[in-house]
């Protein structure tokens, strides 16, 4: 049985192997991230049968309780590990041909460090370890957004850095307050003793955690950095930021609210914030001319939708929220990756320059269309079962507030359909495209698009594969007693 710490150690080791291999030849550095992520995919698949029976708890360095830092590889951790490895593998395949100029060695190192931070944050069971891994994730993403050195990139990265650092300072204050109250940093011990303190002692830590990590999770109104950062970064980094980094921020909030604190009274505030995020995101995306800025605002809308689904608090809601998380990661990755080469061939990011792309780059336009339809929620793509499950969970909860809020969320979906259909119309049906030659992206950049299309259609047609796994995911987040007993024995 492989140790879950390998899931973190392998990207980290390969990241520092890149400069050593650079002494031999500079040409092999772009093949190291796909190899590292392929090893991670195989390890995660090998761990699935063990984790489905009983979550694996391992301690870093072999220390014993109570001096140990534990890793808890349960269904949630493995869910994120599989998703991160799969999307990281595909994006790094695309980057083999997309990243050509500038400091390419540093790009590949920072990319693997970002994935290390994401993997570590999803697997750990110690709050300061969570802080360190989320800082690795954030700092790598600040540097990667500014990678091209362009005017827009450096400006967006500076704003992202300042807001992200304030967020992590708040998170650190909250960790200090929690340590002062409970005397331990282990998640299971804090969850065990949570009822022995007065509730007023927990108000300030949890408020600081939600507002601190909320910067990374991109909830309204602290997501002002997201449109700039995701639209100015190179397209592979936009895909990874939208698909992985903001989801890890959301996971940290969920782990604290559901498993450690059990703060179900807070769900009302979270659900109102989610509605605000959805509506502001979708309405802002509707008025954009820049294709990547439109996709970035759509990311905020989708994070609001995922947060709405998990703030329902029921196990159906959390399963539906995690299904929507898979949908958004796969669809937004294919949208950003296909628009990467479209922007290179068209010369700019405006929607007017994309007229006639349907004939000029048929495979990329098809991938963009499939990603757009999947995000809107058309069958037979993956967006349909996930949105259906969210609506079903909201109606099953029963109270009037959920029904009113799901109507507002569906209004956001209608606006989303409007701007995505307008984008697809621009690609295929506008202008006179009789005299355009085929000028497709390189073949290695099309492989990840085709693999993503296969997974989007495959999971969309057979969602039953995932529902069992997602039920285990939601029961791990909600079942605090099993979590405590798993770690403390």
């Amino acid at each position: 049985m492989p140790d879950p710490v390998l899931l973190i150690a392998i990207p980290l080791g390969f990241a520092f192997l890149i400069p050593l291999l650079g002494f031999i030849s500079r040409k092999i550095e772009k093949f190291v991230p796909p190899v590292a992520m392929a090893v991670n995919i195989l390890l995660s698949i090998k761990l699935i049968p063990y984790v489905m029976k009983k979550p694996i708890v391992s301690s870093l360095g072999g220390f014993l309780h109570p001096f140990s830092i534990n890793l808890y590889a349960g269904p949630v951790g493995l869910f994120f590990s599989l998703l991160i490895s799969f999307v990281g593998f595909l994006v790094s395949l695309y980057a083999i041909s997309y990243i050509k100029e500038g400091a390419t060695q540093k790009y590949h190192m920072l990319f693997l460090l970002l994935l290390t931070g994401a993997n570590g944050a999803a697997l750990t069971a110690d709050i300061f370890n969570l802080f360190v891994f989320s800082e690795i994730l954030c700092i790598s993403s600040y540097a990667l957004v500014a990678y091209t050195g362009s005017k827009a990139g450096v400006e967006s990265a500076t704003k992202y850095l300042i807001q992200g650092s304030i967020g992590s300072a708040f998170f650190l204050i909250a960790i200090g307050l929690i340590y002062g109250q409970f005397g331990t940093l282990n998640m299971a011990e804090i969850a065990q003793h949570i009822h022995s303190v007065k509730p007023i002692n927990i108000y300030l830590p949890i408020a600081m955690i939600i507002s601190g990590i909320g910067v990374e999770a991109a909830i309204f109104p602290i997501n002002a950095w997201l449109p700039d950062a995701h639209s100015s970064a190179p397209s592979t980094i936009s895909a990874v930021l939208s698909g992985i980094a903001i989801k890890i921020g959301l996971y940290v909030i969920l782990r604290f609210v559901f498993t450690i604190f059990g703060a179900t009274n807070l769900l009302l505030i979270l659900i109102i914030t989610a509605i605000a995020t959805v509506l502001v995101g979708e309405f802002s995306a509707f008025s954009q001319n820049n294709i990547k800025r439109m996709l970035a605002y759509s990311s905020t809308g989708q994070i609001g939708l995922i947060l709405f689904a998990v703030s329902l608090g029921t196990s159906q809601g959390i399963s539906a929220g995690f299904f929507q998380l898979i949908t958004h990661t796969l669809s937004k990755s294919i949208l950003f990756l296909s628009s990467g080469y479209m922007i290179v061939k068209a010369g700019s990011m405006d929607m007017e320059n994309m007229i006639g792309m349907g004939k000029r780059m048929p495979v990329s336009s098809l991938s963009f269309t499939i990603g757009a339809f999947s995000l809107v929620g058309l069958p037979p793509f993956i967006g349909f079962p996930s949105k259906f499950l969210i609506v079903k969970a909201a109606i099953a909860k029963g109270d009037v507030l959920s029904i009113v809020l799901i109507i507002l969320v569906l209004l956001g979906t209608v606006i989303e359909a409007a701007y995505f259909f307008r984008a697809v119309q621009t690609l295929y049906f506008k202008g006179d495209s009789s005299s355009i030659q085929r000028d497709e992206a390189p073949a290695i950049a099309l492989i990840p698009l085709l693999l993503l299309i296969v997974s989007i259609i495959g999971i969309g047609v057979y969602p039953h594969f995932l529902t069992g796994f997602l039920n285990k995911v939601s029961s791990e987040l909600l079942n605090r007693i099993a979590f405590i007993r798993g770690i403390l024995g």
Binding site: E155, T158, I162, S165, G176
Partner: protein, 119 residues
């Protein structure tokens, strides 16, 4: 006076955090904002250390043969703060390199003028 005496470290650390956040809000020069971020980080580190302090405690090292562990301060926050200081230095270095690049592109460091990305 007794209150001030017993909580002086917490008051000082939260004072530093508020000063740092005020600089971030009120000043528009990028270098001043980075300094404000650094002051806020120092405040957070001071807060973390002062949680582990025990009155009249000594360093958590067995420097004398029969030192009682009850007389030592808590060593765990010291480990947290070491990590946090290093993270703060890394972010400071990255922020200053961004400031250099921004000045090369825009010829000014006034964040009110660097607003090419709008709605």
């Amino acid at each position: 006076m007794g209150f001030l005496n017993s909580y002086i470290y917490y008051i000082a650390s939260f004072g530093l955090i508020f000063i740092g956040l005020y600089i971030l809000v009120a000043k528009s020069n990028l270098i001043k904002m980075i300094i404000g971020l650094n002051i806020a980080d120092s405040g957070v580190n001071l807060f973390l250390i002062s949680i582990g302090y025990i009155k009249r405690g000594t360093a958590p090292i067995f420097s004398r043969p029969n030192l009682n562990p009850k007389l030592m301060v808590d060593p765990v926050p010291q480990a947290l703060v070491l990590t946090a200081i290093v993270i703060g230095v890394a972010v400071l270095a990255l922020a200053l390199s961004f400031a250099v690049r921004l000045f090369q592109h825009y010829d000014t460091l006034d964040m009110r003028k660097i607003k090419e990305q709008r709605w």
